[in-house]
Symmetry: C2
Subunit: 228 residues, 2 copies
C-alpha cells in the first residue's frame, strides 16, 4: 500500500479527507498541530478520528504560533459571530492564521520525505469557506511545485510529491454526504473555533455556521449537534 501523510485538524473536512485517503488504499500517517489554537480541543478529536480510521501513526507537532500572533485563533482577538455564510468568501476574517497552511504543508513534506511517501492529503475547501488565501487552488499548485524542488526527490528525480485536495471544489453539503458515504462518525469530529464550557460548540462562529449549513443541505443530522 502506498503511504500518505494526511493533515488532520479533527474537523469535518480533514476527517472526511482522511477517510477518503484510506478508502483509496493509502496507508495513512496523520499529522496534527498543537499551535496555540483557542480550540485546542480539536486535537483530541483528531486523535479519536486517527485511531478510528486506522491511521498507522498519528503525530501531533507542537509549534507555538502565538509567538507571531495576528489571528483570533491564537491571540486575544474576538472570534466573529453570526456572519452570513454568503459573505464569508469576501475578504479575509481575523480567524485567518498567517501562513498556517504553508507551515502545515511544509511539516507534512518533511514527514513525507522521511517516510518516502509521495502523497500528502489536505482537506482544504475553497467553496464553503472563510476566504483564507491558503485554501485556494493556486496556492496548493504553487506549494506542490515548491515541494518538488525542496526535497531529495527534486534533485534525484525519484518520487514526485503530490498534494491531494479532494474536497477543494466541493460544497460543505457534498463533504457531509461524502463523509457519510465513507462511514465517518461525525460525532468524533470537532469544528467550533470558540468552544463554550462543556465543551460545547458556540454555534455562531464561521466554522459552526458552515458545518450547520452543510448538514442541513445534505439532509443529515449532525450527531455532534445532538449532544450539545
Amino acid at each position: 500500500m502506498p503511504k500518505a501523510v494526511c493533515l488532520l485538524s479533527g474537523g469535518l473536512d480533514s476527517s472526511t479527507c482522511l477517510a477518503l485517503a484510506r478508502q483509496q488504499g493509502f496507508e495513512c500517517y496523520a499529522l496534527s498541530f498543537d499551535y496555540g489554537q483557542r480550540h485546542r480541543i480539536e486535537i483530541e478529536a483528531a486523535a479519536r478520528v486517527a485511531a478510528t480510521l486506522g491511521a498507522i501513526r498519528h503525530v501531533t507537532l507542537k509549534i507555538d504560533l502565538r509567538a507571531f500572533g495576528g489571528s483570533a485563533l491564537t491571540d486575544d482577538i474576538a472570534v466573529p459571530k453570526g456572519r452570513s455564510v454568503e459573505s464569508m468568501g469576501e475578504g479575509i476574517p481575523v480567524t485567518y492564521v498567517p501562513a498556517r497552511n504553508t507551515i502545515f504543508l511544509a511539516c507534512s513534506l518533511a514527514w513525507a520525505e522521511t517516510l518516502e511517501a509521495a502523497d500528502i492529503f489536505l482537506g482544504v475547501n475553497a467553496i464553503d469557506y472563510s476566504g483564507y488565501p491558503d485554501c485556494r487552488p493556486e496556492f496548493i499548485e504553487a506549494f506542490e511545485h515548491t515541494a518538488n524542488l525542496a526535497t531529495r526527490a527534486g534533485v534525484e528525480g525519484r518520487t514526485r510529491v503530490r498534494i491531494h485536495t479532494p474536497l477543494i471544489r466541493l460544497s460543505k453539503a457534498d463533504i457531509v454526504r461524502l463523509g457519510h458515504d465513507l462511514g465517518l462518525d461525525f460525532g468524533l469530529t470537532w469544528s467550533c473555533y470558540d468552544p463554550l464550557p462543556g465543551p460545547a460548540s458556540c454555534g455562531a462562529c464561521d466554522s459552526c455556521l458552515l458545518r450547520a449549513k452543510g448538514f442541513q443541505e445534505a439532509g443529515i443530522e449532525d450527531p455532534l449537534g445532538r449532544r450539545q
Copy 2:
C-alpha cells in the same frame, strides 16, 4: 525603516546575512529554531549575534523535527567527517534535514505577515555548500511565488513578499570577506554540526571544513578557531 524577518541559525552565513540586512537599512526581526538539532549550541550563538547586531526582536521557535527523523542532525546517525570540499556538492548527505528550509521559510512568512513586513532574509548558499536541495535558487524562487499566494498580500495585492538570498552565489571566502567588511565578530558565531565537549568544533564535518576553507581563502583568521 522597512522591517525584515531574518532567519538566523547563528552560523557564518546567516550572521553575515543579518549584518547585511542591517547595513541595507532594515529593522530586523531575527528568527531561530530549536528543532532538535544536535548542535543546539548554535541557538546561543544566534542570540549573541542578534543582540550584537541590534535585531529589534529575536524569537527562537521550538519545532521538534525529531518527530520525523531522517537526518544526522536530528537522529542517531553519524555526521560524516573529512569529506573533500569538492565532493560536497555531489549528492545529498545525511546531514540534510528534510524540508527544513521550507519549514523555516514558512514560519518566517507567518511572522512577516503579522509584522506587515515584505522582506525575508535567508543566508543560503549554493556554491560552497553540502548539496542540500533547499539551498538552490530554483527552490527559493518557487517558495517566493508560493508565499505571495499564501498570504493576505496575495489576495489583497498589498505587499509583495520578497525572499532575499544575498549570499546564494558567493563563495565561502566571499562571505567571510563580506562579514569582515561589515564588522561582524565571527567569534560570536557557531558552525560545527557535531560539537565536542568544551564546547569545541569538531573540525571535520562539512560545516567546519567549509568554514575553514572560507577563512583560509579569504586570508582572514577565524577567531573561533583560535579559542579551541
